[in-house]
Symmetry: C2
Subunit: 604 residues, 2 copies
């Protein structure tokens, strides 16, 4: 299709389907394939992306459209199969799309009654149509999706008329229609056999001996579409030019967003702190940043998966993104009530980012429940969507909710994911640095792991230093040991250093709020933070997996947490200045007399 529409593909590209380095990989990826808007393959993600695209369109249109100036009125189209409908993530997003009355969303259910295990009768006998009616969707049906093209076109026109409900068009089809193996899952993943291809081409009026050939009338027909699309584009450009004259301020804002630029000097709004400022939970500091940015960044929209009062994700005075008819907000609202739908939220966030217009959207939940959305987070990273998770209650420090809510493996999981920035700020300056990184990102998702408990403003931190992903917070000359930590453990490391100094030991303390950002710094800088000559001990109340990149010895948790007061739990698990100092002392003894190279120095 993209080839026919004139995107940057050649017939040679099509011939190298599923081959290494081709533009036509096994599943289409938005980063490598021109014209592909979202990376799909994992089932259920596409419909959620579509909900995000439609949501963003509504928000953009409500914010910028003016009488006689329609800057945005597009529909979002999505194909989904039986497998997508079985996945819970599609249920979450579809329920929300119905609630939000996204009349600009049109989805086609390719109802071919086949999945990998054979007939859908073996596992999927629910009444999909009734379910989508229950979600308040508009339903249309095309009985013969194999050949009734007029019926499909008519359904699309009908769907466009319903403005307060998303539409599901059920299209009954035969998988592999026309093939000798039609109606079986055999046509899903394997190429058709040569004689089957031959009879199929003959059946549909093509030359059975021609391969990778496009009949002239097909090329011409698509070319006509391209031309009419270009005309639409020209008309839009004229509208926008007039809009800029009549609404110079808004016009400039839209232009800036389309250019993918942030307002000049936006980062000056980020709060900074000194040690004289009081102790505050990093989730609360995050709320401060959201408040500061909300006023100056119209593209900074977001919400929470039903944890608003815990995640502190709602800017003061912000309006809910809601259908006006609910009386709860309107479509220009910037705050999204996702409900308890973490995976759906993650996949919808990807869709909002894919809409363009520089959307920098965020979603809140507890860090532990970002795992529910692992499938979507992976696609954020693979697709380069600059979305942000406001992931509060980031450790055993959440206290009483206990092991079911206390992350252990979570940071290792997402740090091991390529192109995923996982910030765990230790104080207010680091929170500001984390948001600076997140909002200015154009191709990297961010997870901000934020504390429930109060943390002090650290001596030695600054937005600038933290923006390097890792820095020396407290420097000793020729240290006996370097303590490296993140988040709430940085304070403990600083206090452990004091205990060790009282014993005459020299200790440096390093804060590494984000591995990915630190890894991007120069070798020289990184070696200045973690130099040769001193053993490094990492401290983090989670799985130590991954910390060997920056430390010789790791103090972490290889067990689940415990329910109790945060301070009791920390003490029980020995994450105290004394517990850290003891391990640091053992490390000093262990490495005494040995040559110690920086953990950054590797054999290859």
């Amino acid at each position: 299709m993209l080839f026919l529409y004139g995107y940057d593909y050649t017939v040679e590209d099509l011939k190298s389907f599923r081959q290494l380095h081709s533009k036509t990989p096994g599943h289409p990826e938005s980063t490598d394939c021109p014209g592909v808007e979202v990376t799909t393959g994992p089932l259920g993600q596409g419909i959620c992306n579509a909900v995000g695209l439609a949501l963003a369109q509504k928000q953009f249109a409500a914010t910028y459209n003016k009488p006689n100036y329609t800057l945005s009125d597009n529909f979002t189209y999505c194909f989904l199969g039986d497998g997508c409908l079985m996945e819970g993530v599609s249920s979450e997003a579809s329920s929300l799309a119905g609630h939000l009355q996204l009349g600009n969303l049109i989805a086609f259910w390719d109802d071919n009654q086949i999945s990998i295990d054979g007939s859908t009768e073996v596992a999927f006998t629910e009444d999909v149509i009734a379910r989508y009616k229950a979600y308040a969707w508009h339903i249309l049906e095309v009985e013969d999706g194999n050949s009734d093209l007029a019926g499909i076109a008519k359904a699309i026109e009908e769907a466009k008329k319903v403005t307060d409900k998303p539409t599901l068009i059920r299209i009954k089809t035969t998988i592999g229609y026309g093939s000798l193996a039609q109606g079986t899952h055999g046509v899903h993943g394997a190429p058709l056999k040569p004689d089957d291809v031959k009879q199929l081409k003959s059946k549909f009026g093509f030359d059975p001996e021609e391969f990778f050939a496009v009949p002239k009338e097909v090329t011409e027909s698509y070319q006509k579409h391209v031309e009419s699309n270009l005309k639409v584009q020209k008309e839009w450009e004229a509208t926008f030019a007039a809009y800029k004259k009549e609404y110079p301020e808004l016009g400039a804002e839209v232009q800036r967003r389309l250019d993918g630029k942030l307002p000049e000097g936006w980062e000056k709004a980020l709060p900074s702190f000194t040690p004289a400022d009081k102790s505050v939970a990093t989730r609360k500091l995050s709320e401060g940043v959201i408040n500061a940015l909300s006023d100056i960044l119209p593209e900074f929209i977001g919400g929470s998966a039903d944890l608003t009062p815990s995640n502190l994700t709602k800017a003061t005075g912000s309006v809910d993104f809601q259908p006006p008819s609910t009386g709860l907000g309107d479509y220009s609202g910037k705050y999204i009530r996702y409900g308890v739908r973490e995976h759906g939220m993650g996949a919808i966030m990807n869709g909002i980012a894919a809409f363009g217009a520089n959307y920098k959207n965020y979603g809140g939940t507890f860090l532990n429940f970002v795992s529910y959305a692992a499938g979507a987070v992976r696609l954020s990273a693979l697709s380069g969507h600059p979305i942000t998770w406001v992931a509060t209650h980031d450790s055993i420090g959440l206290g009483e909710d206990g092991p079911t809510h206390q992350p252990i493996e979570t940071l290792a999981h997402f740090r091991a994911l390529p192109n995923c920035s996982v910030w765990r700020p230790a104080d207010g300056n680091e929170v500001s640095a984390a948001y600076k990184s997140a909002v200015s990102s154009t191709s990297t998702p961010h997870i901000l792991a934020l504390s429930r408990q109060n943390l002090p403003q650290l001596e030695g931190s600054s937005i600038e230093k933290a923006s390097k992903g890792g820095y020396v917070l407290k420097e000793a000359s020729k240290p006996d040991v370097i303590l490296v930590a993140s988040g709430s453990e940085v304070e403990i490391a600083v206090n452990a250093a004091k205990l060790l100094e009282a014993e005459g030991k020299k200790v440096s303390v390093v804060s590494i709020p984000d591995f990915l950002t630190f890894d991007k710094q120069s070798d020289e800088y990184r070696l200045s933070v973690l130099p040769d000559g001193a053993p490094v001990v990492s401290i983090e109340v989670m799985s130590p997996f991954g910390w060997s990149k920056y430390s010789h010895e790791q103090f972490g948790l290889s067990r689940f947490g415990a329910s109790g007061k945060a301070e009791d739990v920390y003490k029980y698990l020995e994450f105290t200045p004394e517990g850290v100092a003891e391990r640091a002392s053992k490390t000093i003894t262990f490495y005494k007399g040995k040559e110690v190279l920086s953990p950054l120095t590797r054999a290859f």
Copy 2:
């Protein structure tokens, strides 16, 4: 409730609610709280556990009940709230429960219209009843769930009469009923204020000045229930004694299962291999083990999330677990068609394990999509459910499907999860060892990462050696370097060793199929595998996170994979004998003249 029913709780236990080391943590955990059947807290898991419990009951009853001998006929009850209904995982399991016609499942929807963000009107306005009807559930409604106890009791009796559909009983309630803050989310997570407690107790006829006191009539009322339950237990024991006489073979089997024992010598059925045997994909070897065990272990049941022909999870000739009316199987069937519902499958597997009767149940999907089920896997590990993921297509070796399907972070994620065995076998003997570990486990979930591509039967492997989680596959005396790998990379390491040996270097090769099992071996054994004196290089085509436990230098992937033929992708990313040998040579050079301690030797 458990206190009133006479479980092992004292009033002191209740007073220490949410305190460290109490029996009454923030969320009830099955491992620490007597009488708690499944660990809950994370929303949506409970109803899926209930589906698993009900599924197991049906399977057990259909397998063992005989005319006049009803060994099992219990109902499974479940409470769920608005939040649970919003989670996609509950949609997945509920759809399947309807398909499976689980009439033994009765769920109560606590419809209080409140979640953390306030009124459910802000995000959850779908028609839940219509949705559950679409899933083919039986629906009952109780208008006044606050005080109409007779109405609730009547609904339960009605629900029991419907045998071919699960029942959802909608109970309209007021959250915090009777409190001054009733009807608000303020009563969800915070204790009531003292004056509120006082008025509440007065309102319901309790002494407002008494605390932690149980009126005598309440104690007596519950005691009566306990007595009648004991009577039921006695009757069941008599039935089972008679059953054992009439059906000695089946009776002994049930007794063995209730004792949590496997049949004597079951592990002899596990196939073993020699290097003369042909190269086979480990997913195919896994199929061989499933076939071998299926006949001798009635408790070994499982299925796939719609990837049966890819996961190879179905034993030859096995019957589907299906409602007999579908004509597709029956309730004594051992093969479960989960549909494309990975998260639901994971949570249902936990429920099947929680049923008891020694169920050892497994579920298949691609390794990359175990991540969709991360929330459930975490609870398997926390609760100690011995379930097994048959996780095929375990790496870039899956080839053409490309980065959306190729795991990078997945092994690091689950290895960082406490009490999760993550096996990545390198050949047939290791596959058998993995299943030996999985099936004999009583409290640890297993993820078996299995290849799509063929792997040779290795010289030096055996079920016994692999059962230690890590072992020396090829030993050199005083090696210059030790290569350690898992799965498909072990063969590459062996071939790299040959290249290095041709250059006069001495090389040992170690296979570590499972970190958790290896960590449980004695220090002496582990140090014999990874001794002092030689640098260790790990090789795995995934994130290197975690491998520093067993290696000084790590060759892994810190990027996404690529779509192409498996051999092309391996070559491109340099996972070849040459690529490994080059890194090993650099490692030898780097460590030359340095004291090299085993990576197992740590400062603390």
